[in-house]
Symmetry: C2
Subunit: 492 residues, 2 copies
C-alpha cells in the first residue's frame, strides 16, 4: 500500500491529522467537532481503559454511572465551576420533534415540548455527582467515598482536532469524598501518581508531575495536580489532571457529615480524569514518517506474520510453520496475526502494518523454511535481523519488553534534551523559537507576569514541578523575587 504520508518535518500538524485517519484510529464525523473512533483506534483505547480500570480498583475505587444531563440550577450551584464551563456547553431545551407542516418528510422542533428547565450536557460531572453525594453521606462511616465513572462528556470547543480537542470525548472521571483535608490531598496526589505510572510504564511516555498555577487550575478546584508530557514537535501536552476540590462542592451542595464526635462538618473532595486525548499523546510521542509506532503494551496486534511465497506449495509449508508460531505466541498471551491474504503482495502488507504500528513483523520465506530461521523486523527502530533460535516464542516475548523499554528511553532522552534552563527573557524567546520544549525559568508568582508572557510568546506555565527545589532567584520577565523555577512551554 502507498502511504503518501506528509512527513513531520514538512508539516507536523498535517502529519498528525493524516496519520490518525490513515492508520484507522479516528475520523471526523458529520457532526461538527465530534469524531468517530474507528475499530483499530478503539481497540487501543480499550487497552488503556482495561489497565486504568485495574489500577483504579486496586486503589480501592468502584465504578458507578451518573446522568448525562445536568439541570441548569444544579450546574450553576458551584459558581466558579459553572463560570468555567458556561461558555462551551451543549444545552437541551426541547424533548420532541414534530412533522414540519411546510416540508413533507421533514421534522421540526415542537415548540410545545419546551423543557421547564434547560439541561446541560455534562462537560464534567462534579455538580450532578455532589448533588447525589448529599444523600449518600451522613456520617464519617460513609467516608471515604471512592468512585469512578467511564463516560462521554461534551465541551463545545470552537477549534477541534481529532483526539486532542473534540466537542465530545470519552474519559474517566474519579470523584471522591473524604473526612479530612489531608486525606483528600493525599488522594489527589495518589491519583496523579497512578496516572504517571500508567502513562510512563504502559504508554511509554515520560511525564513531569507538577502543580498548575491558579490561572491553569480546574474551575472549582483549590489545587490541580497534573502530569505533563512533551511531543516530538517540542510542544507540551497535559496528559492527566487530579484536583483537590477543598470543600467547594460540599458547600455548594451542602454535603456534610457527622464526625466521630457527632459534629457536622463539610466533606473534602477530589476529582481526576484522563481522556481519549491520551490517544493523541500516544501518536505524537512515538510515531514517525512511516506511520504509527505503538508500544507493545497498547498494540492491538503485537506481532504480525507475513508469508513470502511464489508457489502454493511454499505457501502451505510456510502456513504450517506460521500456525505453529501463532499458537506458541498466543500461549504466552501475545496477540498475533498471520496475514495470509492472497489478494495483497508482501510489500503492501509490510507498508500497511508499518502504518498501523505493529511492533514486530515476522517474515517467513522459502529460505527460512530451509534454514529454520525467521526474519524479524522491529517497527520502532526499523531494524531487521534473521534469527535462528530454538525458543522463538520466548525470543519474541523478550523483544516486546525490550521495545517497550526502548520507546520509553528514547522519549525520555528527547524530553530531557528539551528542558532548557534560562535566566533572561531573551534566552526564553530564543529557546521558544529555535529549540522548543520545556523552559525552566524563575517566575515571580503573579498572574500578571504569567499572562504577559503568554501574550508575548504563547507559552504558558505547564506546571510547577513537584520535584523542584526551592531556590531563590529573579523572575525571567519582571526581575522580581522568585522562590523556584517553573516549566513554561507552548502546549496543545
Amino acid at each position: 500500500m502507498s502511504k503518501n504520508l506528509t512527513t513531520r518535518s514538512e508539516d507536523y500538524s498535517k502529519w498528525y491529522n493524516e496519520l490518525v485517519v490513515k492508520a484507522d484510529l479516528a475520523e471526523n464525523s458529520g457532526v461538527r467537532g465530534c469524531m468517530v473512533i474507528k475499530p483499530y483506534g478503539y481497540a487501543i483505547w480499550e487497552k488503556m481503559q482495561a489497565e486504568l480500570d485495574r489500577m483504579f480498583k486496586e486503589t480501592g475505587h468502584s465504578n458507578a454511572y451518573f446522568p448525562l444531563f445536568v439541570p441548569k440550577s444544579m450546574f450553576e450551584a458551584e459558581e466558579k465551576n459553572a463560570e468555567g464551563f458556561a461558555k462551551e456547553c451543549a444545552i437541551v431545551t426541547h424533548y420532541r420533534l414534530k412533522n414540519d407542516p411546510n416540508k413533507p418528510g421533514k421534522l421540526m422542533v415542537d415548540a410545545n415540548a419546551k423543557l421547564e428547565e434547560e439541561l446541560i450536557v455534562r462537560p464534567t460531572s462534579e455538580a450532578i455527582i455532589w448533588s447525589t453525594y448529599k444523600n449518600w453521606i451522613q456520617s464519617y462511616r460513609d467516608l471515604p467515598l471512592l468512585i469512578n465513572q467511564w463516560a462521554n462528556v461534551v465541551r463545545w470547543e470552537m477549534r477541534t482536532r481529532l483526539f486532542l480537542r473534540t466537542a465530545e470525548f470519552l474519559w474517566q472521571e474519579g470523584h471522591t469524598a473524604h473526612a479530612t483535608k489531608a486525606e483528600a490531598i493525599e488522594e489527589s496526589k495518589k491519583m496523579m501518581d497512578v496516572y504517571a505510572d500508567f502513562v510512563q510504564n504502559f504508554m511509554a511516555i515520560p511525564v513531569i508531575k507538577g502543580l498548575k498555577t491558579e490561572t491553569e487550575r480546574f474551575a472549582g478546584a483549590e489545587e490541580t495536580y497534573c502530569i505533563e508530557a512533551l511531543m516530538q514537535d517540542g510542544k507540551a501536552l497535559q496528559a492527566g489532571t487530579s484536583h483537590f476540590l477543598g470543600q467547594n462542592f460540599a458547600k455548594a451542595f451542602d454535603v456534610k457529615f457527622a464526625n466521630q464526635e457527632g459534629k457536622q462538618e463539610y466533606v473534602w473532595g477530589t476529582s481526576w480524569g484522563v481522556s481519549t486525548r491520551l490517544m493523541g499523546a500516544l501518536v505524537m510521542t512515538h510515531s514517525d514518517d512511516n506511520g504509527l509506532v505503538l508500544p507493545p503494551n497498547l498494540a492491538p496486534i503485537q506481532v504480525v506474520i507475513v508469508p513470502i511465497f511464489k508457489t502454493v506449495d511454499e505457501f502451505e509449508r510456510i502456513s504450517t510453520v506460521a500456525h505453529d508460531l501463532v499458537s506458541q505466541l498466543k500461549k504466552l498471551g501475545i496477540s498475533v496475526k498471520f496475514d495470509n491474504r492472497n489478494t495483497q503482495k508482501p510489500g503492501f502488507k509490510f507498508a500497511e502494518w508499518e502504518l498501523k504500528g505493529v511492533p514486530i513483523r515476522i517474515a517467513i520465506g522459502p529460505k527460512d523454511l530451509e534454514n529454520g530461521t525467521f526474519e524479524i523486523a522491529r517497527r520502532d527502530n526499523l531494524t531487521k535481523e534473521v534469527v535462528s533460535v530454538s525458543a522463538i516464542d520466548l525470543y519474541v516475548a523478550t523483544l516486546l519488553k525490550e521495545i517497550q523499554k526502548d520507546l520509553f528511553d528514547k522519549a525520555l532522552q528527547f524530553r530531557d534534551n528539551h528542558i532548557t534552563e534560562v535566566n533572561t527573557f531573551e534566552e526564553f524567546r530564543d529557546v521558544l523559537e529555535n529549540k522548543t520544549g520545556f523552559i525552566s525559568a524563575h517566575w515571580d508568582g503573579t498572574v500578571e507576569t504569567e499572562e504577559k508572557i503568554k501574550e508575548l510568546t504563547k507559552a504558558t506555565i505547564r506546571c510547577i514541578p513537584l520535584s523542584q527545589e526551592k531556590v531563590n532567584g529573579k523572575c525571567v520577565f519582571s526581575g522580581e523575587k522568585s522562590t523556584g523555577r517553573v516549566l513554561f512551554a507552548k502546549a496543545y
Copy 2:
C-alpha cells in the same frame, strides 16, 4: 439491619422499586427520568458487559464509538426510524450559557449561541452510523462490516422506572453491513442466539425466541427477532432484540458497494441491542421478599464469610480460618468477602448480605473451630447445612454451579407453568385475569385484531415463536383463519 421490604404479594411493583434502591443497585437522580447506577448495581452491569463483549468478539465483531449527537437532517433521513423516535428525543438547540443580568450568580441560555441545525441526542445510532458507513464501504471486500458500540442513549419517556424504562440508559448496539440479504438475516438470527445464550446461561433467565409482529417491530426494520422472558408477576419482558434492516438505511444514506462483478448494489443491514433493562429482568426473575437473589455468574460477591464470636480470642482464631478460606477460594477465581466488621452483629450482616443477594454465606463460630465445620447457607432457597469436608474450596465451587443451574431450572419451571394454550377469547381473558403469563393463541395475522385485543385487555403479541409449528386454526378473537399460535401477554 432491618429490611422493611414490601412483599411481592402485597405490591409487586412497590417491592421492585424498593428493592432496587435498598439493595444499592440504582436510584432516581435530580434529573427527570434519569437514574444513578450505584456501585453495587454497576458491578453487576460490568459483569454483563464483560461476558457480552467476549461473546461479540468471539463472533467476529469489533467495538467502535460514534457521536452522541445526530444532526436533525441526518436523523430524519430514514423516515420510519425518524417517525418512531421523533416524539421522545432530547434536542440540543444552543451551545453557550451567559450570566443572567437580572439574577446575580445565575446563568441563562445565550440566545446568540443558537445552533444552525438542531442536534438530537441519539435515541439509537442507525442514522449516524450509516452516514459513516457510506464512506467505509465501497466494495464487497469491505463487507461484512461487524461493529458494536457501548454507549448511553436517550429516549424521553414520560413514565419512567429504574432500569425498566429511563430517559437515559446504557446499552450496546451492534450495527452490521452485508453483501447479501441471506447473510444479513443470518447475522440477525445469530445475534438473537447470542443474546439467548447469554440471558439463559449467564443470567439464568429462560427466554423464548421469536419474531415481532409488524406493530411491535423496530422503526425502520424489515424484521425484528427478539427474546422474551417472564417475570414473577406473570408479565413479559423483552430482553433483547435483533433487527434485519433490509436495505432501508443503505437507501436512506446511499450506501452502495461494487459486487464481485463490479455492479453497484445497496448494502444489507442489521442492528441489535441489549440494555441496562436486563438489570430489571434480573431482579424480577430471581429475587424474593428477603431481597435480591443473584445468579453466581453475575454476583459481585459470590461468597461472604461471617464470623460468630464473643471474645477477641475467638475472633482471632476464626479470622485465621477465614483468611485461609478466602485465599483458597480466590485461587479458584471465586469472589469472596470476609465480613470482619466489629461494628455490626452477625444478624445484621446476615440480613444485609441476604438483601444484596450474595449466593453463599459461610458462618464460622467457636463450635465450627472445634469440629472443623462450616455453616453454609444458600441465598436462593434459604437452606442451611453444617458441612465438614476436606476440600471446602471445591465444595463451594460445585455449589455455586449448582445454584446457577437451580435458579435457571426454577425460573424455567415457573415460565413453563405460565404458558397457557387458549382457544376462546373468554379463556384468554380468564388467563389474563387469574393465572397471568404467556397466552398461546391463534391470531388472524391482522393489525386490527392485534390492536383490538390490546385495547380490550392490555395484552400484546410478545412474539411469534420461532419454534412454533405451522398449524391451521381459528383466531381467538375474530374467528378468522390462522396458521399458527402466537404468544400474548401483558408486558413491561
